[in-house]
Each structure stands twice: as structure tokens, then as C-alpha cells.
Subunit: 355 residues, 3 copies
């Protein structure tokens, strides 16, 4: 059988080659060497200043304040570091669904968000894929202290939130000569973003790097979940936030593509979700790569926002499916992406229901 | 022009390479030789017993009964055999849309569901892609007798339903060491599944193989349609269930990819649907491969569940689009996938409307 | 890094190879030579007459009238020519988002719709990607005079509308031996289509070529936007129609794939949209290639038709996302496709909001 990683490697099982446009060059990233060059180019990107070829507009002169919580709201403060680390895609070494070992190297250099205690006093856990979940209610303000603590890649990063409201200063996006202060956090630097949870922020969203090399760095793990609820809303009894995403050879330097849930591959390594009959259960599932996915849970059906019953919904890059039901069916169930090539390559996990 | 089937072959026009994780190996399936090896590995998979490396959980000890119909409901009994057969993707040899012959070999070894009379007394028709449609109303029970009658591939298969309610015993899924009785129907064996049509089962759904080699075997044709209606609901005057799916060279050993509707390629071979003005017409369209599709019908518009008018809707792996309208526009119309590469490679058909 | 355009070229960053079935051959289009041969085959397609192998049905004998506006409606008349032209994907030569030049050749032979004054008296502008926007209200009739004015490709073309109501004569589709009068407009010919805006036409839709070689020619730029409103409906203060689509090497003969918005690549070349606080702003975004896309606008959220808040929605071939809100957030914002490989390769643009 075909085992080699060739120049098609980056396609993995997906098919969308990454184009990097960094440091003045537009290239396809097909091999680890391509990726290493893109990283080097990215590490050489200077903090934007010149507007020579990018004419300044009136909107570029606007200044903005920093929002405060609405009456009754609160400040949700987070201290998070972007950090590279060694990440094992299958800590058990075992594929429980297919009843077989996962052979070969499984560890790669990931780039992920790590939680710290107040004032960056001490880390409260390791960096993880996805990063810490951010929760808020309408009227709250999220104050996000981001430190670029990476010592390996040497690149500027950011944190860009979906769903929350922000001014251009807190957009967390590299925009070339138009980059504002929150769009280029160089290694060793810190920045504090302030974001508002408004009535139209209710829902589940991703946050992620949006610096000069964010496409590659998102593939390495720089993403996480934001959950915004109505003020005082009851949270589900069981609530799980999952990302479906590929870890492909050019990024990981591993021999095969791993189709992941939250950075892990195959039931037993991916999150095992546990509930019991009668509970209010919610799966929030987002895409974190460039592919189409379909989220299926065995033994359960739920309603789409428009009222249809389903057990399998499409999602794509940074879009969301929420599957929520009152549990009534005990047993061991499989959840998985219904793209067969993804399921076969590990995009699956256990959902265990007690009577 | 490029005619050869190379190692990119399995990508067909799609782009998602199939990863098989069977018999202890994870491999990309790019050529017929890869597929033959995956089949051999799959045929060697033993009925799961050992739980050595997969620890038993309390949910694995649960036992379940077999449901009966609700008051007023009935038992819908089916006798179906999984069978390999020679399948012609274009019986007319002609592409009526492009006004040209379909040259080259068109027949491959498919794997499909075949209907039998009660008690497997005699077949009531050939195996087809898709298999027999299963219909039920809320409160009914579907009793599905599945026989693995294949003599070619030598692999365990199952039948896994979407939409209907089932206990883990009737899930019809291979789960490695956690496989229950309905998840591994070896060649020559029979099994009876019992599934319930509950209020949240209303809709149109797929059923399909979910055995150890289901990804390959679904690509060969082991899928069909389930339709569940409210009790006493009137069925549309014209109702058609279509699957959009690719038949790719590594699976078919043919020279090109065929982009199919119900296992056939090009108008005149794919289903020709016929209606007349005033009729209630419904197309239920599902995906049966790993790709994005868009279902378009010329000359007609319909409402999405959320009330927008459309004539072209996205679908993906095992997800559904229902296009339903009261007919008012006579003539010869084309339905097709709006992915241009799919339409060009045969994913289209005729819809004829009489005044 | 990998710079060469090899046989994988047509895949671009997408992954769906185009299959052309023209002039009796089904081939994969991977290189400019393949495309040249497909063009030659297409130029040799004769006006359909023979029905030898395509049996005539009763519906093929039906005759149809030409609709008039409903009471109070009007005729919306357009004179449009299909024309090949030299098209620059990045007129500024600069990628403002990545703060770098766009190196290499950027001009290719496009095929696009060009507006003329009444009676094809004189052109009112150049051919553009997309073509002129067609607007109507319910009850109106669109009278579209199409001229095939191309002198390069030598192929029949058509104009096929989505959303509007038409009889088979005005479907604008090549159907082999079943082609009606509007389905084959040879070079030098003109044809007048008449389409109705009915109550279920309300929305935003594409129009495009649907002649014998439409898949290739749509990739070259033969598409545009139709907007239908309720009678007397107020239009948004700011309304923009965008197409997300790839221009790939086999079609363009350029060295790389360009991921485009309206035929242009990278912020500063793609449409810059401008609004001010308080305005009713609408982006209508459609896909015009074979890929999955996700439309994201920084700093804004909107409601889906089913009432969920979002800032990032999936779209695909000829499907629509409308993002509409009352503007409340001044600054320079980025809109982009959230498929990272697409964003990196230019599928992005500026949205400027004045206080």
C-alpha cells in the first residue's frame, strides 16, 4: 500500500493546499521544507510601520476607547500564553474503534494557548489544543491578556475572537501597513484585548491567531472556544466543545495525516463525553481546518435552528453545529465526522450514557 | 489530454483520499492494489472478543429489550441481502446531455442491498444502488432482516440507520472490542435489527453499511433511503430519493471517475423523473461520498426550511436536501449537481413535466 | 519552496479537477494544453439537430409563449455581449493585507459579460467579472438581449438565470439533442431571453453561461448577479454583490492559483466597500467555482435566516450568503473567505466604516 509522504502530502485527506503569502512570496506549502521556509519568512516580518504603498484613509486615523461592562455585567479576565510544545496526537497509542495500535511517530511541535493565573503569576495547566474555553454573559467584558511566550518559532501572533464585539484596536489581526496595536504581538511581548459580549454575541464561537502566519499556526493548534450566554441562562448539564481538524504531514513532519478532534486521533484519545439519562446535553462542534465536515452522533437526533430533525450536520472552517437534546438512550455511542475518510483516519470519539 | 489513472486516481474529481484503518494498518487508498489489500485485511478481521487493551465500562454491561410498535403503529418488515454484483454505470452507453457516447468500460463489481420476499423465500429484484427504500410512520417499528450473502469480498457487513431510534444492539456499527451483536454480520450470517420511528424520526435519512470496511463498501454501493412520515401524512404525488456520489477508479478499477446519481452517470441513465402540472413534487437528495455537492433543478424554485427561496442547495456526506413544490412549469428540465466538475462528469438527469 | 505548475495545477488550492465531456470525449483538465484541446472540441460542436440516439418525448413538442409584466410591473431591458478580454487579477500590483508586491504575470484571457446601450448601439463599459448586475421587482419581466461577440474562443454560449421563472425556450442551457433555441448562441449571433420575477424569485441569484463549454467558461468569468425585490422594497443603503472563486493555472496559464473576489485578488484590488454608522448594509456573497467557502467580516455579526447570530457562513457553488446589519462599528475591517488557504491566496478585501 502507499505509505510514503510525497509532495502531495500537505493535501492529507483534504485537498486544499495551503498558499502562504508571507515576506513577499506566495508559495504552496507541500512539504516540511516549504513550511520551514514560510516560518523563517514569517519570523522576519517587521512590526508594520511604512504606509508608502498603502495610502492612509480617514478611518485609519480614528481612535477608540476601551469598553467597560454593562450595568450588572462583569469583567472576565484571562491570562493566556501562546507557547510551542510537544504534542502527542494519540496518548494511548491505541485506536479503540478499530481495535488496533497506532503505529509510528505520533508527536509533533504544536503551537497552542496556555492558561496562567492572574498577572501571569504561574501556569495553571499545560498549553492545550484547543486552548482554554472563554465564557461570558451578555453585558460582560472579556479582558484577555495575551503573552507571546514562544521560543521556537520566533513569530508575532495575536488572538482574534469571533462573536464578541471589538474596536479595530482589539481586532487582533495583522493587516500589513494598517495593522493596529493588537495585531502584532512579537515574541516576549504582552497585550491586553478588551471585548464585549453584546446581545448578538450569544452563541458559540472560535478564537484564534490572526498574525502574519496565522494560517500555519492555526493548523498547529492556536485556537479555542468562546461561549456567550444570555444573562443568567442555565448552562447544559453536559456541555462539550469540539473542533474537527486535520494535522497534516508538512505541518507535523509525521508520516501520515491525522484527522483529529481537539488535537487527538481515534476514540479513546479524543474526548470521551459522559452523560446520564434525563440530562440536558450539548455538543458544540466547530471546524478548525479548511475542509468540509459532517458531525454525526449515533443513537440520537436533534433539531436544527430551523426546526428540522437531524443526526448529521455539515460544518466547515470556523463554522458551528450545536447538537443538543435531553438524554434518553443509554449505552456506548460513537460520535464522528461523516466524511468517511476523516472518520477512518481518527475523527471519532466515545459518548457514554448511563441509565 | 490527460487520460491515465495515476496515483492521484482515487481523488477522482473530489480530492479526499480514503484512509483505511483496518487490520492494524492505516493506509491511503490510491490504487486498485491498495483497495485489494484493504479488502484482504478486512476479510481477515475476526469477530471482536478481546477487550485486553480496551477497558470495559459499566455501559458495556447494559442489556436492552426489543421495541414493539406504539398503539396504532405497525411492524414494517424487510428482508434484505448484501450482495456483490456487476453494475453498469451507464446502461444506455449514451450521454444524452452532451450528445455523445460514453466510451470505455463501464461495469464494475458493486456491493449493494437486494430485496427478498418474507423469510428470504426468493429475491424480489436485483441488488440496486441505492438499496430498497424503507418507509415508516411515527409509532411504527422497522424489523430489518439482513443477510450477508456476498461470496466475493468475504467481509462482515452491517446495516446502520440514520433517523430511527435504536438501542446499542441494533446500532449496526463495528466498534472494535466494543462491538455488539448487530455490528458484525459475517458472510453467510443473518441478523434482525429492530428500529423505532419516533416523533423526531420524521424526515428522510440514509441507511448504510457500518462494518469494519464500511468506508470502502459504501463507496461500492451499500446504502439506501429511509423515509419517515407523521402518522397518516399524505405522501407527495411524485417523490424521488436521489444519492449524489462518486465512483472512483481505485474502487471500480475503471479508467475514470464517474460522478453519479443513484449509481448511474449522465441524463438518460440516471433516474428520469416525471410529473405533471398541479402535482405535489418532492426530490429528496442526499450525499453518499465524501464531497460537497449542490442540488439544482432548472425551471423551479422552492423554499428552504427557514423560508428562503432557492433553486440550488448545498449537501454533503449523508446530509439531506428536500426540494418540494407544486408543479407549474411544463417541459424538459435538467437537474444536476452544481459543482461544475461533477455535472460535467455525469451528475445530472432529466425531469420531465407534462402540462 | 514549490513554485512549479505541474499536472496537479488545475487543482489549484481547491482539489476538484474539472472533467470536460465535450465533442465525444471525457477528460480531466489539468494543464493549459488540456484546456486548449477542450476549447477546440467545444468550438467544433454543431448546433444540435439529430435526435437519432435521443428519443423525442411529448414534452419536447411543447410550445411556449413569451411572458409580459404583471399589472404594475415593468420590462427591465438589458443588452449584453459575451466577450473575451485581457483581465488583470491585481491592477495595483500590491497585496495591501500582506504588505507585499504581487510578483509575476497577472493577466489572462478572461471571458466576461459586457454591457451595451439599447439596441447594441455602443458599449457602456468594459466586460467585467462579474458582469452587469440585473435588478427587478416582483411582477417585472427581464428582457435580456445576449450577443456572442467573442472572436477568440469561437464557441457557442448562453445566459442561464437562477431565481427567475422561464420556459424551456429561455432556460439558456445546452441539452444536446434536446437543446432549445436559447441554449446555443453561436459566435456572431444574438438572442433575446424573457424571464419573469415571480414572488418566489425574491432574493439574490447568479446568472451564468450554460452552453456546451460552460464549466470552463464560467471559470473564465461568464457570470453575474440577479437581485429581485418585493414590489417597492427599499434597497439597503450599501449593497454589495461578491463572488468568491478561484482562477487556476490551466485556465489562466499563469504560474499560480489566484483566489479571487469578483475576479481580483487581495485587499486593495478586490472591491473596497464603504459605509457609515447608521446605514443598512448588505453583502450578498455567492460561490462561482467548485469549492467550499466561508464568508467572514471582521467586527460584525448578523442573523441567519433561521435567527442565529453568526459572523462566518458557509457557501458553495452558486449558493448565497446575505450578511446584513445596521452599521455601528467604525474603522478599517477585513472581509475574507475563512478557508485559510483561500484567504492567504487573496480572497479578502477592505470594508471601511466612517463614524
Amino acid at each position: 500500500m502507499s505509505r510514503g509522504m510525497d509532495r502531495r502530502g500537505f493535501l492529507g485527506v483534504g485537498g486544499a493546499a495551503l498558499i502562504a503569502t508571507i515576506g513577499g512570496r506566495a508559495v504552496e506549502l507541500r512539504t516540511p521544507m516549504d513550511v520551514a521556509e514560510a516560518d523563517a519568512a514569517s519570523a522576519a516580518v517587521k512590526r508594520p510601520m511604512s504606509r508608502r504603498r498603502s495610502p492612509r484613509d480617514a478611518v485609519d486615523a480614528l481612535t477608540f476607547g476601551t469598553p467597560e461592562p454593562q450595568p450588572g455585567g462583569q469583567v472576565r479576565e484571562h491570562w493566556i500564553e501562546a507557547k510551542s510544545l510537544s504534542w502527542d496526537v494519540a496518548p494511548t497509542g491505541w485506536d479503540a474503534l478499530m481495535n488496533m495500535p497506532i503505529s509510528g511517530r505520533r508527536t509533533f511541535r504544536a503551537f497552542a494557548y496556555r492558561p496562567w493565573s492572574d498577572g501571569f503569576a504561574s501556569p495553571t495547566g499545560p498549553a492545550t489544543i484547543p486552548g482554554p474555553t472563554i465564557e461570558a454573559e451578555v453585558g460582560d467584558v472579556v479582558r484577555m491578556h495575551l503573552r507571546n511566550g514562544d521560543e521556537h518559532f520566533g513569530q508575532a501572533v495575536t488572538m482574534h475572537p469571533h462573536g464578541l464585539r471589538y474596536t479595530p484596536d482589539y481586532d487582533g489581526v495583522y493587516l500589513g501597513a494598517y495593522t493596529r496595536v493588537g495585531g502584532f504581538i512579537a515574541p516576549g511581548e504582552e497585550f491586553t484585548y478588551t471585548w464585549e459580549a453584546t446581545p448578538d454575541s450569544v452563541g458559540v464561537w472560535p478564537y484564534h491567531d490572526h498574525g502574519p502566519n496565522h494560517a500555519l499556526n492555526m493548523h498547529r493548534g492556536l485556537f479555542g472556544t468562546i461561549i456567550v450566554r444570555e444573562r443568567g441562562a442555565r448552562r447544559p448539564d453536559v456541555e462539550t466543545a469540539l473542533f474537527l481538524h486535520e494535522l497534516a504531514p508538512p505541518v507535523t513532519r509525521l508520516r501520515r495525516s491525522f484527522e483529529c478532534v481537539n488535537g487527538r486521533v481515534a476514540a479513546g484519545n479524543t474526548p470521551t463525553v459522559r452523560a446520564k439519562v434525563g440530562q440536558d446535553v450539548a455538543f458544540h462542534v466547530q471546524g478548525a481546518d479548511d475542509m468540509l465536515h459532517a458531525f454525526h452522533v449515533h443513537g440520537h437526533r436533534w433539531q436544527t435552528p430551523q426546526g428540522q430533525f437531524t443526526d448529521n450536520q455539515l460544518l466547515g472552517p470556523e463554522t458551528l453545529v450545536t447538537a443538543r437534546w435531553t438524554e434518553d438512550n443509554p449505552g456506548r455511542w460513537l460520535y464522528h465526522c461523516h466524511v468517511l475518510a476523516h472518520m477512518q483516519a481518527g475523527m471519532n470519539g466515545w459518548y457514554l450514557v448511563d441509565p
